[in-house]
Amino acid sequence: MIKEMICVACPLGCQLKVTLDENDAVTNVTGNTCKRGVEYAHTECTNPTRSLTTTVKVEGGRLPVIPVKSSAALPKGLLFESMSVINDTCIKAPVKIGDVVVKNILNSGIDILATAPIDVCN
C-alpha cells in the first residue's frame, strides 16, 4: 500500500510517497529531499507524535489560566485524552516556567510543564 504525506521536518514540506508492506512496515520512501524525510516517514507510520500546547487552570493568580506544553512530543493518539487530564487539573500560583503541572501524563513518560510564570495576586 502507498501512503501519501507531507514531511514537516523542515519548512520545505516535501510530498512523500511511503510504501508499506502487509505488516504496515515501511519498505520505501520517495519524494524526500533529504534523509530526514525518510526518518519522518518511519516515525509517522509507526508511532506518530505531536507536541501538545494548551492552558491549565490556575488559582490565586492574576489570570485564570496559564499556558503549558508537553516536555516532549506525545503519541498522537493520546492528545485528546491528555487534554481531558489537563482540563481536570488545577494548580496554585506562584508558578515558574518549567514547573511540572502534570507528571508522566497517561504513563507516557512525558510531563506537562508551565510555559509562563504567574505570581500570587491579591
Binding site: 507531507i6 514537516v8 519548512p11 520545505l12 514540506g13 500546547t53 494548551t54 485564570p64 509562563a116
Partner: protein, 428 residues
C-alpha cells in the same frame, strides 16, 4: 514594573521605545548593551511580551535560541533581561502622540499624564488584524464574528470559549493555529476557507493543525455572507475565480455559530503618521535605512510595525539592529556620512526592507524580502544594473516565508550612490 514620575513635569530619556513586545525589548536591550544611558519602554498592555503572551504554541526561537519555545517562553527570556537591567518600563501605558521633536506623550492611570523628551525613539508598536469591516461580507451584525487573534486572547488569556461550531476564513498561520486550538478545547472546526489558491501558512501547520484533525482546507474559497439575527447561525461560502471574483452557483450554506477571521495583518502606524515619516505603501510600514532609521533622524522602527514578520527570531535580529542604530545616533546625532543606494523589488519580489542602504556601511547589510507568489525550482538574483551580486537557488519560495540576502562589504564597494539594488525571482 512601573517607573514613578511626577505629574506635570517633562521626563527626559535618551531613548524611548514604544511597545514592549519582542521588538521593543530586543531593541531596548541592544541599545543598553551599546552604551545608551536612560531608556524607557512604554507598553499599552498590562505586561511586557506583546502578542507572544497569547501565542502559547511552540515554534519560536528555533533560529535565535536553537530551541523550540512557546511564545510566552520566548518573551520571558527577554522580559527577564529587561527586569534585570536598569531599563525603565511603564505598562498599562498608552502613547497618544509623538512630535517631530521627539516629544512623546503618554497616559496611564498611575502617573497620569506623561510627557517625555526623547533623544531617540524606537517605534515597535506591532500590528493589528484586518477586521470584518474591511471585507465585503454581507449579512447581519450578529455576535460570533471576530478575528482569530481576538479568539486566541479569549481562549488563552481569559480562559473562555468564543464558539462551538467554527468556520475560519484565512489559512495564514494564525487561522491554522486557532483551528487546532479550538479543536483541542472541544469545539468543532468545520473548515478553513482560503481566498487564494494556496495557503498562506507554513506547511507544517497545515499538517499539524488541519490534516491531523481532518479539518478541510478549501482553497479559492471565501465567505460572502453571515446569517443569524442575534448570534451567528451559519455562513455562506463560495468559490472564487483567478481574479478572486465569486463564481455564481458555487454558493453553499454552512451551519456554524462562529466565524473567525485571519485575513491579514496591518502594521500599526498611527503614531508614525503623526510625525509624517515616509511610508512604504507595500509594507505599510516606514521607509528605513539599514540601521532601521526612518526618514526622521533619531526615529527608528522595527518588528511588525515595520513589516509583518513570520518568525519572531527575525523580529529580534531586526530590532537589535534598530537598537544599535539608536545607540549610534544618541552618541553622535549629527554624524551623517551616509550615502544611499535604494532597494527595489523586481519580478516576483513584493518588497525589500531596508528600502535604502548606506554604501559607506562598515558592516555587511542583510536585506529581507518577500516574494509575490509561490515559486518552485527558482533562484533569487540580487543585481545592480547588469551586475549580478548574488544568486541563490531554492526548491521553493513562498509569500508566507520571508527571505534574506546579505550584501558583503565587497559587494557594497561595487554599489554607487543612488544605484538601484534589485532583487528578482528567476527560473533556474
Amino acid at each position: 514594573m512601573k517607573g514613578r514620575s511626577k505629574v506635570n513635569s517633562t521626563l527626559k530619556y535618551d531613548l524611548v521605545v514604544i511597545g514592549g513586545g519582542p521588538a521593543g525589548m530586543a531593541a531596548a536591550l541592544e541599545a543598553k548593551k551599546n552604551g545608551v544611558g536612560k531608556i524607557i519602554i512604554l507598553e499599552r498592555a498590562e505586561t511586557l511580551g506583546g502578542i507572544l503572551e497569547q501565542c502559547i504554541h511552540t515554534g519560536f526561537g528555533l533560529h535565535y535560541f536553537g530551541e523550540e519555545l512557546s511564545g510566552p517562553e520566548y518573551a520571558h527570556k527577554f522580559i527577564e533581561l529587561v527586569e534585570q537591567s536598569d531599563i525603565d518600563v511603564k505598562t498599562d501605558t498608552m502613547v497618544i502622540s509623538i512630535s517631530k521633536e521627539r516629544m512623546v506623550t503618554a497616559v496611564n492611570n498611575q502617573d497620569g499624564f506623561i510627557q517625555i523628551d526623547a533623544t531617540a525613539v524606537i517605534l515597535a508598536m506591532g500590528c493589528r488584524e484586518r477586521a470584518r469591516g474591511a471585507l465585503d461580507i454581507a449579512g447581519s451584525r450578529a455576535s460570533g464574528v471576530m478575528t482569530a487573534g481576538a479568539a486566541q486572547k479569549f481562549v488563552n488569556i481569559d480562559g473562555y470559549m468564543p464558539g462551538k461550531k467554527i468556520v475560519i476564513l484565512g489559512s495564514g498561520d494564525i487561522g491554522l493555529i486557532m483551528a487546532r486550538r479550538m479543536t483541542l478545547e472541544g469545539a468543532q472546526v468545520k473548515m478553513v476557507c482560503e481566498l487564494m489558491p494556496y495557503s498562506g501558512g507554513l506547511t507544517r501547520n497545515i499538517v499539524q493543525c488541519l490534516d491531523d484533525f481532518d479539518i478541510p482546507l478549501k482553497l479559492s474559497c471565501t465567505v460572502i455572507e453571515v446569517h443569524g439575527t442575534e448570534r451567528v447561525e451559519g455562513i455562506t461560502i463560495a468559490q472564487v475565480d483567478e481574479n478572486r471574483n465569486v463564481i455564481d452557483g458555487t454558493q453553499e450554506f454552512v451551519e456554524c455559530d462562529t466565524l473567525l477571521l485571519s485575513v491579514g495583518l496591518i502594521p500599526e502606524n498611527e503614531l508614525s503618521k503623526q510625525i509624517d515619516i515616509d511610508m512604504d505603501p507595500i509594507t505599510s510600514g516606514p521607509v528605513v535605512n539599514e540601521m532601521r532609521q526612518t526618514s526622521l533622524p533619531g526615529v527608528f522602527a522595527c518588528g511588525n510595525v515595520l513589516q509583518v514578520h513570520d518568525l519572531v527570531d527575525y523580529v529580534t535580529t531586526e530590532s537589535q539592529i534598530a537598537g544599535l542604530g539608536a545607540a549610534k545616533y544618541i552618541s553622535n546625532p549629527n554624524n551623517d556620512d551616509s550615502r544611499y543606494a535604494f532597494t527595489k523589488g523586481g519580478d516576483g519580489v513584493r518588497y525589500i526592507v531596508p528600502q535604502k542602504v548606506n554604501i559607506n556601511s562598515k558592516e555587511e547589510i542583510k536585506l529581507y524580502f518577500r516574494v509575490a507568489d509561490v515559486y518552485l525550482k527558482s533562484k533569487f538574483v540580487v543585481s545592480v544594473g547588469d551586475e549580478v551580486l548574488i544568486e541563490k537557488r531554492k526548491q521553493k519560495f513562498a509569500p508566507g516565508e520571508m527571505e534574506n540576502a546579505t550584501l558583503t562589504l565587497e559587494m557594497l564597494e561595487k554599489i554607487k550612490e543612488n544605484d538601484e539594488i534589485v532583487i528578482s525571482i528567476k527560473e533556474r
